[in-house]
Point group: D2
Chain length 258, copies 4
């Protein structure tokens, strides 16, 4: 008897702020199983977060804390040379804020996914990585950490006792060694929904994709990130979701195993 | 057999922000039983909050969320005509942020005390009061609400099922009807530590103090606020504490009943 | 010999912030003669402001400082009980910041229009009004002040020596006494572009419009505000502009008299 | 006939924010000739800045814009990987804000000194350096740029047509090659007021100081930085000033040549 295939699809959400809107949470959340919800430091005013959390609850989508550097003006996309104790406290603060809002929306935060520059930095910067790991352990060691597939962060987090979720990107090209092709290089980002959907299926069924060099590269993918902040992104998410449904691959949060 | 008299003393703390210091938490916290800790909206950067929470834990002082309007530049002292759903979400966010930091410091948030302009506004403004009450209920209905003794807020909160703590001010003059004398009037603020200590004892033993009009005015005082943000304040807190010790009145958080 | 009729049309712009967009400055600015540009306190990150200022310069649109309360989360729409010296300094700061960015864009700030809650408050609150007037005088007494037509603010500002510009709203209903119908009342906001365009022409040619009570009400209109933050708003602005062009009414900033 | 020796002494000021105080502007400003005044991004609420500017005006101290990364929580001390166009706009914004406040205080901004992490970064990072240089040129090319003595920034700024002011540090040890000894190394910071005062005199009279390796190292010092944010700093500034007065060395802003 074979086990049904399943995958988690995650998307950023809750990125509005006061009068400013970003992304279309109502359109993207029905397509994914996990919502990375901003925590106020790069985006997400409390009232906007509460609205998104209620939508996530209604759609039965798992909720993660999308923690970030304190940089509203830069949307958390600028590297910041922050002290370890400051980073730890900032991450604890953000997780807690989202936890309480989640409780008010009758849901719970089940994972942490660092956002933007913090995501990229801690994939390889051990000092900042340890500051984030320490924060999660201090709040709730059962919170999973979503991290770049193949990055050292996954090993550091596992060694510290965290449950890790390896994340792959549906619309990004990979090198033969499993690293992402830099956005500065041509062909780094894929735009064709059918091609992206096809690669998602490959990742799940074959455990990898064709690299930009032409060879097969293995990619561990516990969760696949779909972008949610443009109309094109919604179309792509829809294509991926339809393809997965057609293949009989269940879309389900990593937190829930059948 | 008589029950020993006891009172809660509370003080604002955690009001530093990044490189800016305010108050002397290390000096004031040993003298009180409850610490109203800022939550980042009027003061309190996360790293500073964590330090204060650890001090509170070490000293076995109860911790409250000192929630405020989002107004760092105005230190939460400016009235703000905020929408109810925004206020509710803001308060939930702040409580949650402090809860997680408290957990990291191995303590817990046991009450909520609104700060500054929010404290004064919701004492009598029912719309904003209900927004704060709703926030507390959404996070944890066991959190007590510290509110101005004799204010309508206490009735609204009780009716909503919250545990309320009536707060009196040791260094403020009262009118015969139990209302605080406005700071704009002469004699509104008392500066003599011995006189303030004497009034605290009166409040506890006699259930009230002499009003500015000369008559006795009853004041319900479950908790007495001591200010912590000046050297004079520390001296006053010390005088109050010594007097209570001398009178055999136990200083203990309202959350703990012997 | 008759003088050609002319009017100033103004619109809010520069309201993006970092990654968040608001309004379509490129669509609305070609239709108006004056751009009220945010100054960073309610909206407008510096880089976004510089882009808008360059567009305004290119289109030969006059530039005004859209000063606001320090309230990014509330978009400057929440009343704030700010001290007079704080308000004065806040307004000076904002005007100066925009002046320097304007210089970098090879244009100049020629007027000040308070935004949102500040606009409404100082129309009638003399204390805050005087704080704003003082700020303008301190920076440059030649800066005009755009204020609600018929409001006491206009008299206070004139008495203080400021050049004032009376502003009317194209899409708002007026009472017989010249006051705006509150947005809470039915019929307060007009949505039909042709009707709005017709009223603009009436204001210019007849010096007033039909009130919601049915009688003619005189409205002084040195400048007419068009909203710019929705697709519908752009369509309405286009209708107004086309109608004015058809009537031979010149659209020109109040700062420039033929 | 010999020319009288003179030097500029500068100190950070205007670093209070709302209710938080930092430094003792009233104590340090009488001792220096130039005040580096915060511009709101790392410190300095507008009302606080206006107070400091008035003090500077009263004491006839030259005023500089102490521009910084947008990082209130980190006090501008954290490196930030900011885009060039964002940095340029941020610096223009800050200079302009301070210019208007300076005008309100009847003084003028005569120079720009980057603060904290920005100061250190642009000393050697050409991309960010050029963004700051561009900002100054866009606002007013007559504004001088205060930069680390011996740094590449001075050459870049000069080549771009800016007037540069080489800055030395009175209380820091130097290597034989003219570089500052890192704060992480022992002996990097000098604490004895008399020794610091002696080194200031050496810099002015001999054009350099004894390096930590023991050899004489030439240091160009158009301006010498004194720290102002501690009681010890005021004492040190006083010692330096007294020594300069005793030596007949005039303390005067670089902007003013006798």
């Amino acid at each position: 008897m074979t086990q049904a295939l399943q995958i988690d699809l995650n998307s950023d959400s809750g990125e509005s702020y006061g009068q400013w809107s970003m992304g279309d949470d109502a359109a993207i959340l029905p397509l994914v199983s996990s919502a990375n919800i901003a925590c106020g430091f790069h985006a997400g005013s409390p009232a906007a977060l509460l609205t998104t959390l209620r939508t996530a609850k209604q759609l039965n989508v798992a909720v993660g804390a999308h923690v970030a550097y304190p940089d509203l003006m830069g949307f958390g996309r600028r590297n910041m040379d922050i002290a370890s104790d400051e980073l730890t406290a900032d991450v604890i603060y953000q997780i807690g804020a989202l936890q309480a809002l989640a409780k008010a929306a009758e849901t719970v935060v089940s994972y942490v996914k660092p956002h933007g520059a913090l995501y990229n930095t801690i994939a390889t910067n051990e000092r900042q990585a340890r500051a984030v790991i320490e924060a999660i352990l201090a709040v709730d060691s059962r919170l999973a950490l979503v991290a770049l597939a193949g990055s050292p962060l996954i090993d550091w987090a596992k060694a510290a006792g965290l449950h890790t979720v390896a994340e792959a990107f549906a619309d990004r090209a990979y090198h033969a060694d499993g690293m992402l092709v830099s956005r500065r290089e041509e062909g780094a980002v894929l735009h064709d929904p059918q091609q992206v959907a096809e690669r998602v299926v490959q990742m799940i069924i074959h455990g990898g994709v064709q690299s930009i060099e032409g060879t097969f590269t293995p990619i561990q993918a516990d969760s696949i990130c779909l972008h949610g902040d443009s109309p094109g992104a919604v179309a792509m998410a829809r294509a991926v979701r339809q393809r997965l449904d057609a293949e009989g691959i269940r879309v389900q949060s990593f937190g829930v195993r059948a």
